[in-house]
């Protein structure tokens, strides 16, 4: 099966994307890749390489300064601002710095995407509770972020990112503050979500973690450029889970 340029299995497509903060040099240059629906991707690279910057483009916190970004089949560069919320609701994000809302309980933080999407109050308890159980925080539901450890806060952030079953999950160093055992557990959560069809992009330094997901693709950033020696990122073969028979 040919890996067509604009296959319907693509969820994200970057074409010669560049990003510049202010007037300096480009933080990201000539980034071209395609994420297939249902794919699992690791984004690696040294500190300062631009991983977070690339993820910001993916979760629509920034727009590129040049190039074309296509997401869910639409050109994001020309997308009017009032359509961004609809797109963002299809994306779950684990921020590198968590970004929990300090005066809300763990429960309310995790429930936030559902409430914003208009889910009725009576339908919140089940999914939010389940998610908090999954990340091992069922007991700390009513705790505020300041009373949680760094790793616990990170798990709340992960629960918030996945609770609305996004089509695309973007996680920035999601296991940076947890012990190896919890890291594996969180990865299983991502894999479970991935099996249900969510495309996952995880930025991490943890090689050990990457080896635990067979079939995951590796994206390597160095000095703002994406290494793609085989061209597999640019023109991917059909994804693992939507592969042709």
């Amino acid at each position: 099966m040919a890996s067509g340029r604009t296959s319907s299995g693509d969820i994200v497509r970057f074409d010669n994307v560049g990003l510049r903060y202010g007037a300096g040099t480009e933080t990201l240059s000539d980034i071209s890749f395609t994420l297939t629906r249902g794919g699992f991707y690791f984004l690696a690279g040294p500190s300062g390489a631009g991983k977070t910057s690339l993820l910001k483009l993916l979760y629509l916190a920034l727009r590129p300064t040049r190039g074309v970004v296509t997401m869910f089949g639409e050109d994001l560069v020309t997308l009017p601002r009032n359509r961004l919320p609809g797109f963002r609701r299809r994306i779950g994000v684990v921020f590198q710095d968590f970004r929990l809302i300090p005066h809300l309980s763990a429960f309310d933080n995790v429930a936030l995407p559902l409430r914003i999407a208009g889910v009725a109050e009576r339908d919140l308890a089940a999914p939010v509770g389940e998610m908090l159980e999954w990340v091992g925080l069922g007991e700390r539901m009513h705790a505020r972020p300041v009373t949680l450890s760094g790793g616990e806060q990170q798990r709340v952030a992960i629960a918030r990112a996945v609770v609305a079953r996004p089509e695309l999950l973007v996680a920035d160093e999601p296991t940076g503050n947890v012990d190896p055992e919890m890291a594996v557990r969180l990865l299983q959560l991502f894999e479970g979500l991935n099996r249900m069809g969510t495309s996952v992009v995880v930025a991490t330094h943890d090689l050990h973690l990457m080896n635990r997901v067979p079939g995951a693709q590796m994206m390597r950033l160095a000095k703002g450029r994406l290494a793609d020696p085989t061209g597999a990122l640019r023109y991917p073969p059909a994804s693992r889970y939507t592969a042709a028979p």
Partner: protein, 296 residues
């Protein structure tokens, strides 16, 4: 999941605060109270000025200064006869001498007799129109009969008073309008400050898919609380103050208020607080939506 709710349920104060900024309700309260008082002044003064203008328009007093009482009385009779023939004269009323004396007593003290001090004879005349031409005709007619008589149109000396009352009334109305706008500006400044203080919160809300309208609602709720508290407080203060003033100056206010619209005026004054709330809410809503629209 695709439901496009416009409201994030207020389970918890999402912005972490129930207040915008400490001072705002007080400022709004002061502005509301001042706007209501200015409005009251406008509603009393403008109709009173109109009423006064109506009273003085088309009126004149003829003054005959003649020491000899007999001649003076003859002059009065002559003028009455003469004016009765003028077509533009509506009414003629000569002030009885006792009344003139009473008027003079107020100024000069009691115990004056007619012979001590020659008082002028006074004749009030109503004419159809108060324009200069009519007054000139009246003057000519009077002089032709009694050359030493003087015609004094009322508008000449009460006109400036009426005009000033009217002007002050309009200035008060303008002040009320400006105060209401100021309340809106205060609300806009407060909500802008809140927006920049809450910027990290707003970013999180946006990134998890909140629309500008949803975010704006959160701030609207804060503004609404503070503006309403301020407007109600100001209204209560203004009403208490007005009642105090009315009670202190019963006679004068009653006289002035006769010209004012009574119940209609009260309704206008009570409309000020809702107007403050509406204008402040609208202005702050536009400010929030505009500020959010400038974010990436």
């Amino acid at each position: 999941m695709t439901g496009h709710s416009n409201l994030i349920p207020p389970v918890a104060p999402l912005l972490g605060t129930r207040r915008l900024s400490g001072g705002m309700p007080w400022v709004i309260a002061i502005m509301t109270a001042l706007a209501m008082l200015a409005m009251a002044a406008a509603l009393v003064l403008t109709p009173a000025a109109t009423a006064l203008s109506g009273q003085i328009a088309g009126r004149a007093t003829i003054q005959i200064v003649q020491p000899d009482a007999l001649v003076r009385r003859a002059d009065v009779a002559e003028l009455r006869r003469l004016l009765a023939e003028e077509p533009y004269v509506v009414a003629v009323r000569s002030l009885p001498e006792e009344e003139t004396a009473r008027l003079a007593e107020r100024w000069l003290g009691e115990g004056l007799s007619q012979s001590d001090l020659p008082l002028p004879a006074l004749i009030d005349v109503d004419v159809v129109r108060s324009d200069d031409a009519t007054m000139a005709r009246l003057g000519a007619a009077v002089r032709s009969g009694v050359p030493e008589a003087r015609v004094i149109p009322h508008a000449e000396w009460l006109g400036p008073v009426a005009r000033m009352m009217s002007a002050i009334g309009w200035i008060a109305a303008a002040i009320a309008a400006m105060l209401i706008s100021c309340a809106a500006v205060v609300a806009v400044l407060a909500v802008r400050a809140a927006l920049s203080a809450q910027r990290p919160m707003i970013d999180i809300l946006h990134l998890v898919g909140a629309t500008d309208v949803q975010v704006a609602r959160l701030f609207q709720r804060l503004v609404a609380r503070d503006v309403m508290a301020g407007a109600i407080l100001g209204a209560v203060a203004a009403v208490c103050l007005s009642l105090l003033v009315v009670w202190q100056t019963r006679g004068l206010v009653a006289g002035l208020a006769e010209g004012a619209g009574g119940l209609a005026s009260v309704v206008w004054i009570l409309l000020v607080p809702p107007l403050v709330i509406a204008v402040a809410m609208l202005a702050s809503r536009i400010a929030v939506i505009r500020a959010l629209g400038e974010l990436p």
